[in-house]
Structures are given as C-alpha cells and as structure tokens.
Amino acid sequence: MSGGWLETVAEKVGMRPVEAELALRKRGIVADRPLRPARTLTIRRIAFKGVKRGIVTGPIDFDWSELTAGVWAVTSQRNLRGKSTVLEILLWALRGTPKGLQDDVRRWLSWVCVEFDVDDEHYLVEFAVEERIPRGTLARRRSSGEIDELDRFISEDGFEAAMAQFMMNTLDLDPITAMQGQEDERQVVEHGWAALSGGIYFGGDHKQLLGDVQMAGLPARMLQMYIGMPWATTVMQAGTAKRELEQESERASKSAAASAKDAEAARVRIERELQAAKKLLDSFAQETGTAVELERLAGEVARLSPIAFDLARRLDRAEAEATELERLANADERAVRNLRENIVATQFFNGLQPVCCPRCETRVSSERLKRESADLSCSICAEEIPIDELEGASDMLDAIEQRFTAARAAADRARATAKALKEKSKASSNEFENARQELAKAATSATFKERRKAELDVARLEGALKERHVPAAPAVASPDLALVRAAHAEADRAYRAGRGDILDRLNREILTLGQRLGVQMLEEVKLNSNATLLLTKGGEPTTFSKVTAGERLRLRIATATALIRVGHERGLGRHPGLLIVDSPASEEVSPDDLTAVLSELQAISRETEGLQIIIGSANASAITDQLGEQWCRAATGDDYLW
C-alpha cells in the first residue's frame, strides 16, 4: 500500500511530511480538501430604497421577499424599466462590488438590503448608500431572530473584501492562481470571489461557457472548481507555483550564463592586457631604476641619517664647549693682564712723592713726608700705608698665569676638536644629502615611475586573472522547485485517477439539459478540459462559440445546471445552486420558445434540490403567464419596476 499525497511528495524530495507540508503551504499549495456536497445559496429578499431624479422622479421603494428555490423573474413590458437594476443590485450585495450597475441609479439609491440562506443559515447584507459609497454590515440571523454582526464596511473596497472573505469561506471556494504576463515576466495573479461569482451570473453576450473574465484557462479552472473535481485545486496551485519557480530558475540560469560569458570575455581581455604589461616590464629590465636599487638607496639614506645627525649633535656640543672654554680663557687672560698692569701701576704710583692734596690742592709739607717714611702714615690723609700691599702679588700672578695657560690650552684643544668634528660632520652631512638626493632622483625619475607602474599593472592584472579563474557559481535552483514539481506530479496523478467518468457524466447531462432547453438538433456534447464545448448539431461538428447567442445562453445554463446536478448525484462540487440570468428579449426567438424554456427550467428546478434561478426578461406577459404572478415582479406598459 502506498502512502498519501503528502507522504509520497515528502519521500520523493527526502523531507519529513511535516516539513514538506509547511514548505508547500508557504507556496500556496495544500492537499485536496475532503469531498463533500456543495453548499446551497438561496436568495430570500431583495429590497432597496432611494429617490429617482432626472426625467423620471419619485421615491424608490422596492421590496421582494419570501423568495425560495425555484424559478423567479423580474420583467417589464419594455426594456430599460429596471429589471436589470434589480439583478445588478442583487449582484452588488452578493459580490460587495457592482458589476454593471448604472452610475445614475447608484446615485439614486439610499439603502439596500439583501437576505439569503446558505444551507440552513440565514444571512443579511444591509447597507446605506451615500454619494454612491456603501456603509453597512454583513450579519447572521439566528433562527430565534437575533442578529450576529459578522463584518462591517464603510467603503467600496471594504465591502468587496468583506463579501469576498465571507463567500470564499462559506461556499468552500479556493482562489484560482495563475501566471500572467509576457514570456519570462509572468507574475502570479489570484482570481477570487469577483471572478468566481461569474459562475452564478449569466448576462452579457455569453462569450464564455462559465464566468466573464477573459483569461485563458480561467473558465476551465472554474469548471473544475465548481464541479469539485478531486485534486483539481491542488494541481492548479502546484502548477502555478511550479511555473513561477521554473521561470525564476530559468531567469537565474540565463543570468548565470550571461555572467559566465561576461567573465570569460573579461578573462580574455585581462590576459591580453597582462601580456602587454609583462612585455613592457621586460623592456625595463636593465634599467637602474628598479625597486631593488631604490631599496638600496633608501637603506643608504637610513644608514647615513643617524650618523650625520649624531655628528651634528656632537659638533654643537663641542662648539658650545669650546666657546665656553674660550670665554674662561679670555677671562683668565684679562685677569693676568689686569693683575700685571696693576702691579706695575701700583709700584709706579706708590713710588711717586705726593705733591698736593687732590681735594684742596694744599701742598704736602715736608713734615708729613718725613712722617710718612718714618711712621708709614699717609702724607695726605694720615692713614696707615699698607706695606705688604704687593706682597704675594707675584705668587698670585704666577697662579693666574698658570690657570690662564691651562685654560687657553683647553680652549685650543676644544676648538681643535670642534674644528675636526666640523669637518667630519660636514662630510657626513654631505654624504647623507647626496644619498638623499640620489634617492629622490631615483624615486621621481620617469623611468622608475613607468617601471613601477608596469610592475603594479602586472601585479594587479595577475590578481584579477587569478580571481577570474574561480569558476562562476552555477545558478542555484530554488530548493522548493523539486518539492513543488513532486507535489504537482503527485496531485496530477491523483487528479487523473480521481476524475474517473465525471467528464463523461457531465457531457451526458449537458446534452440532455441542452436538448430540453431547446438547442436545435443537438446530438453530442463534449466538454474539454479547457472548458470549450465541442458540439455535434445535425450531424455536423461545431463549437459553443459558433452557435447563436440564444443557444449559447441555453448551453451555459445547461452546463451550470449539469454541474449542480452531477455534484448532487456524487456528493461533491461547489456550485452554490444559484443562477442569475439577465437576458434581453433579442435572445429569445419567440414567446412560444420562451414559454418552452421557462417551462423546462421549472421542471429542471423541481428535479434539482435547492436550485434557484432568477431571470430578468423583457417579455412580461409570456413570463407571468408561464411562471405565475407570485413568482414574478412585473411592470406593465411604460411603468417602472420600482
């Protein structure tokens, strides 16, 4: 016994089922829901109020209630008397967004209420309209009569979102996803309630079998959805995700291929440039301006700089020392000379005989002179004459002279040392300066610059080339792709296994219903998986799109009804059993034909539980005659329906 879908998919890609489920859910892919009968949607009441303005004036107060399953009609003697408006207002309430409601009528409206049942639950949509904008609520009415508000809205968008959310959930519908757009630029689009509600409305020119959104594949998907074909939804979800991932992967590999091509081109270019740079570098080979030579010169400068600096410093010190010693020697020399001069001068002046007082000019008396030589008292001031004034002077002179000689010798030696140092310092600083200039010259020489540039070019290009040799990373496909592919394949397998004879059964039912609804000479019907209908009429093969508008309408109704009936029969499907048919008189060939169709629809509805058909038609008398007044809202003559 093999495993379920999820188990099989997970096993194929080597994941645990729980992981696979999470990854698939993130991609919007879920397993098929369990089969169950479709829900039944039945309109119970359509009511609205407002004021007519313009050519026709007056209050609007339309209220049509107590509706049940069966065939109902809004009709007027003449066209443009409001029958379409009733259907449009009903669609507005169900969809949350109007379909073809005339703008002036929308302006006239002030209040709308639509009540409906889904199986045994009662719901009502009620909203006020102010300047075209709906404001109201969606609510559930319990059997006891109490109201539970489910949602509320104050804008067009809010109303649409509220109804879509409610209907998709309540009617068990899944959004239809598809890839749309130009080749390679497709994007995932989602068709929700606004598109799916096309399955209950039959108006316009009946171009498509189901719905009215012109998009390839959508009618087929809607058909699969509404008939409840097992795994159809999962196949669709996985198919969309797969196409999206494949597109991504393709884009990535295209871009990887493009960059690989670019990288190869760059590699070739760099190789070429490298050869040129190497050739240029070789041409410099014998020049002196090499980096090695430069390094040697720099080393020489570095070696000589501290020597020159040291010598300069030593010279400064030696010169300062010599200057100081010379100063001391000079001081000593001055002292020697002063002392010698003073000794001689003192001896000389002391040897002179005083003649007069320098103060008063009085002549020095002979008595004073005598006293001076006898008593050693000064002949001028009578102070005692120091006889030993010059004693020791020659000793002192000797000492100072020796000191001076030593100081002079020291100063001379210091000066000689400083002079020698000066020579050395000068030589050293010259040597340093020469080396420095040589270095500067070498570093700035044109040859060196060019060579250096060539060296750098070669190094740079070699680096760039090495980098290019790393192979470009291959495009990595999303890890989800394998999973999604497996999910798609498995779902498709289950879909093919599960669809069985449903299509055959549908074909037979559509044929029967089509014949009953008066499609002339219909002999065979074949529904394709792409929701085109191949027909055989009067022995000739034809298609849905080639028959008349009236026949197309009949075939559409036959198809939708067949979905409902086969669904009921098999206990599956999702069509809610409501058909809203807006049909201008032109599609009805004659009152007799119309009567026949209505009669047959009544019969079909009686056979089909829960089927409700609401028709808008311009042939009032034929319709009321056939359906009975209690099933109709009719306007006679020029009257309006509301």
Partner: protein, 217 residues
C-alpha cells in the same frame, strides 16, 4: 659674560693720563704755567676719548669710517690688528650710558694723578657759580711719568699708543661733537639710559671684512 670687567683706579689713571697727553693742545700751554706741557678742554671730551679707549670695537668702527673718508690704508691695518689681538674680548671695559653719552666718574683716578702733580685740573667759570668746564693740564712730570710707565711694562705702553690713535680719530672735535659721533652707532644709541653699552664686535668685524674684500677686488 659672567661679570663686567672693571678697571682699577690706577689703570684708569694711566688711561686718562695717556688721553690727556695724546689729545692735549700744546700751543700756548705755557699760559697755564711754566711746567704745563699741554691742555685738554672739558670733561665730556675726556669721557668721549676714554669711551674709545675702553671699547675697541667702537674704535675700530670709527677707524673704518675715517678710512672711508680719508682713504688712509693704515687705519684699516690698525682696525684689523684690534681684532687680531682679540681686543674686544680682552681690553673692553664696558661703560654705562649716561644722559649725554658714555659716562663714568673720573674723580678718583684723576685724584691719583693730581696728588703726584702729574695733572692739574682747572675749573673754568664764575667762582661760587656753575662750573662751565674742566680744563686738564699735563705737567712735565706727568709726561715724564707716562714715559716711565710705558718703559716699565709693554702692557702699559699700549695705553700711550692707543691714546694717540684715539686722538687721531677724535681730531680737534669737542666733547659734544664726539658724543654725537658716538651716538651714530646704532648699538650705542639703542642702549637704554643707565644700561651697559653693548658690544658691536661682530657687526664691525663684518663691516671690516666687507671693506677689505672690496679693496681686494
């Protein structure tokens, strides 16, 4: 310099004696006494002469200036020898700048000369009133003493030789005119009142080198 070199009173006495002898006016000296050899007018003139005696660098500068006026080459030779003998270092006795130029009281040194009657000082002016000027008279004994001093030691002989050079530079100019000349020296004039007059050795040496270099061409 650690300390300012100060001459002894006796050295100053010899310097002044040499100045008076070299710059004194010998004509009509006998008017002041039989034994008067020459006469030197005014203390300011004596001070100015002494300034050059004590500042060999300023003197050398004057010699160069004189050379530029007269073209006498021996003036440069003398200037050169001043530097060769390192006189600015060995023989400079700085002087304080006073209100009217370099000034130092000379009284003590003059007293030594006066006591032995080598020099006589006359004060010209109204008795009891303001002294107009001092007049220095050199006696025969004074001139004889200078001769003996110079013979006693070559160092002291230098004073007599130098005084003749200073007298040559000063010419017949009075004290005021000499001080004005000394003012011309930027360094001298730039010295603030009551401050020691700064040496100009390096500038003058550079000037001399320039002048000699100009001659060499």
């Amino acid at each position: 310099m650690a300390e300012i070199a100060v001459a002894s009173e006796r050295q100053t006495a010899i310097r002044l004696l040499a100045c008076i002898q070299a710059a004194g006016d010998r004509s009509n000296a006998g008017r002041w006494g039989d034994d008067v050899v020459c006469v030197l007018h005014s203390q300011s003139r004596l001070q100015a002469l002494d300034f050059w005696m004590r500042n060999p660098d300023y003197l050398a500068n004057e010699l160069i200036t004189e050379f530029e006026i007269s073209g006498e080459r021996d003036l440069l030779t003398i200037a050169q020898s001043i530097f060769d003998d390192r006189e600015p270092e060995l023989r400079r006795f700085p002087m304080v700048r006073y209100l009217f130029g370099a000034f130092e009281p000379l009284d003590n040194a003059l007293a030594i000369l006066r006591a032995a009657d080598l020099v006589r000082v006359k004060r010209d002016g109204v008795p009891g009133g303001k002294i107009r000027e001092h007049i220095y008279l050199l006696t025969i004994a004074g001139e004889d003493a200078l001769e003996r001093i110079a013979a006693a030691a070559p160092e002291l002989g230098w004073y007599r030789e130098r005084a003749h050079i200073v007298a040559r530079v000063a010419g017949a100019q009075g004290g005021k005119a000499l001080k004005d000349r000394q003012y011309l020296q930027a360094e001298y004039a730039g010295t603030q009142l009551s401050h020691v007059i700064e040496p100009v050795t390096s500038q003058v040496l550079a000037r001399l080198t320039g002048v000699l270099g100009g001659l060499g061409k």
